[in-house]
């Protein structure tokens, strides 16, 4: 596992809440926690209902989960901070329940009308 691969761990830890343990996050990143056969059996009929084969469903639920949400350049910044983050997380100083305001985020684009072929490039 490369240093870059460790980044999702950092991202998760930054947002760590009481609902997820460090163990869960680490095991997900290391893919040591495969989808259980029972869960797979639960999901397959949902895919079948929209015409997906078992193979298609299995393929899509075995990929990387949707945990990345930062621009790629920020990942390198995160590498620098990852050790600090791990320490902070370990002592539970993530401030999960501290009230917060969010600064409005400006996202240009057409995502609220409809997507363009250009958006996929």
């Amino acid at each position: 596992m490369s240093l870059v691969d460790m980044i999702p761990v950092g991202i998760e830890l930054l947002r760590l809440s009481g609902r997820e343990s460090v163990y869960t996050i680490l095991s997900r990143v290391f893919k040591a926690q495969p989808i259980s056969p029972a869960y797979r059996r639960r999901i397959r009929p949902l895919g079948a209902s929209v015409g997906l084969s078992e193979v298609e469903v299995d393929e899509v639920i075995s990929g990387s989960p949707n945990v990345t949400n930062l621009p790629s350049w920020l990942k390198w910044v995160l590498v620098a901070f990852i050790v600090v983050v791990l320490i902070l997380s370990a002592i539970g100083v993530t401030g999960s329940y501290v009230p917060w305001y969010t600064n409005p985020l400006y996202v240009p684009g057409t995502d609220y009308a409809s997507i363009r072929p250009k958006d996929f490039l």
Binding site: E56, G63, N66, N69, T102, I115
Partner: protein, 345 residues
């Protein structure tokens, strides 16, 4: 305080429509009695540019039924904003088609809700509409205009996705899939269940995986997602919370302004006939439900989620309609996965 302008203003230029779609969130049909005049609409184009708006999506109703739509489209282009047109693709005459080519939009989008005429026509309320929209789509594609397709999914057309996919494969269109919400004409009994919603997410994810972008460009809209523990991203751009009043702006055909057109009338926060657009947009109270979100505004499950700060409780329109309040969107992949896991024992 002067804010950056919206990336996209979604503008219902008329409520008039020649179809009668069962899922229409605006219950479009007849034009509003007090729709903006041509002069007012042209002035609004200038005002949008004045607040720094980058693009306008003209929609309706059926926008191409408004007689002066070419003038509005041309003004949008003249002042330097991007233009997209969302049409139902029905009764697009040759002269209308030529006018669309003349204004050269960045994108033209048609709505396809079924892979078979029987389903599409039933949903759209007019026999023959499927045949026409497919023909219109082919004309757009052939003309080289960047083309999109929107499919709004509810119980009646969930089973149509693979057929629509076949229709769109290799055409070079961008396919946007969104969930129908119970506003306007859509009744609650047609809204997808959470499990059906998850099936839809699986379909998008599986299709993205199976086909290259050259074969088919597909993505979920703003109400599809987010932060799955299992599935890869469904959207083109990462979800960063509801963008109503931040990077998007909704305009009704009578000049009413709201953060997002998908929201119901109680979210109207001004009218350009009573107050300049600039003032409405820069008002610190405008769209405060998205511009200033506090953790305490979030529903309990959202507040305790790892992604609360980014997600802010999902799509406002879905949250309001399906949970009775904002920032608690129950159609959340992460939440549904937890429920599925629990129900699985």
């Amino acid at each position: 305080m002067v804010r950056p302008g919206p990336g996209c203003a979604v503008w219902e230029i008329t409520l008039k429509c020649n179809l009668n779609c069962m899922h229409c969130g605006s219950a479009a049909g007849k034009a509003r009695s007090d729709e903006l005049t041509t002069d007012e609409a042209l002035q609004l184009c200038d005002d949008l540019k004045g607040i720094g708006c980058q693009g306008v999506a003209m929609m309706g109703g059926e926008p191409l039924l408004r007689k002066d739509w070419p003038s509005i489209a041309e003004r949008v282009r003249e002042v330097g904003m991007d233009l997209s047109i969302i049409t139902n693709g029905y009764k697009i005459t040759e002269s209308k088609f030529q006018r669309i080519l003349d204004v050269n939009p960045e994108l033209v989008t048609v709505s396809i809700d079924g892979g078979h005429a029987a389903i599409h026509d039933k949903i759209r309320g007019v026999p023959g509409s499927f045949k026409e929209v497919v023909a219109t789509l082919r004309r757009f594609v052939k003309s080289g205009l960047p083309t999109g397709v929107i499919t709004t999914v509810h119980k009646m057309n969930l089973g149509e996705l693979t057929t629509i996919r076949k229709l769109l494969l290799g055409t070079g269109v961008a396919w946007q899939i969104q969930m129908a919400t119970p506003y306007g004409r859509l009744t609650y009994d047609h809204v997808l269940s959470k499990e059906e919603y998850y099936s839809l997410a699986l379909f998008i994810a599986a299709t993205r995986k199976k086909y290259s972008k050259k074969e088919l460009m597909i993505a979920g809209a703003h109400d599809m997602g987010y932060f799955s523990r299992v599935l890869p991203p469904l959207q083109v751009y990462p979800w960063q919370g509801c963008q109503a009043g931040i990077s998007t702006l909704g305009i009704e055909s009578n000049g009413n302004i709201l953060g997002c057109l998908a929201l119901p009338p109680e979210y109207v926060e001004g009218n350009i006939r009573e107050r300049p657009l600039k003032e409405i947009w820069n008002d610190s109270a405008f769209s405060s439900y998205t511009r200033r979100v506090r953790r305490t505004d979030l529903g309990s499950e959202c507040a305790s989620c790892t992604y609360s700060k980014i997600c802010k409780g999902g799509c406002s329109a879905v949250s309001h309609s399906m949970a009775g309040g904002l920032h608690r969107d129950p159609y959340c992949l992460r939440l549904i996965e937890a429920e599925l896991k629990k129900s699985n024992g």
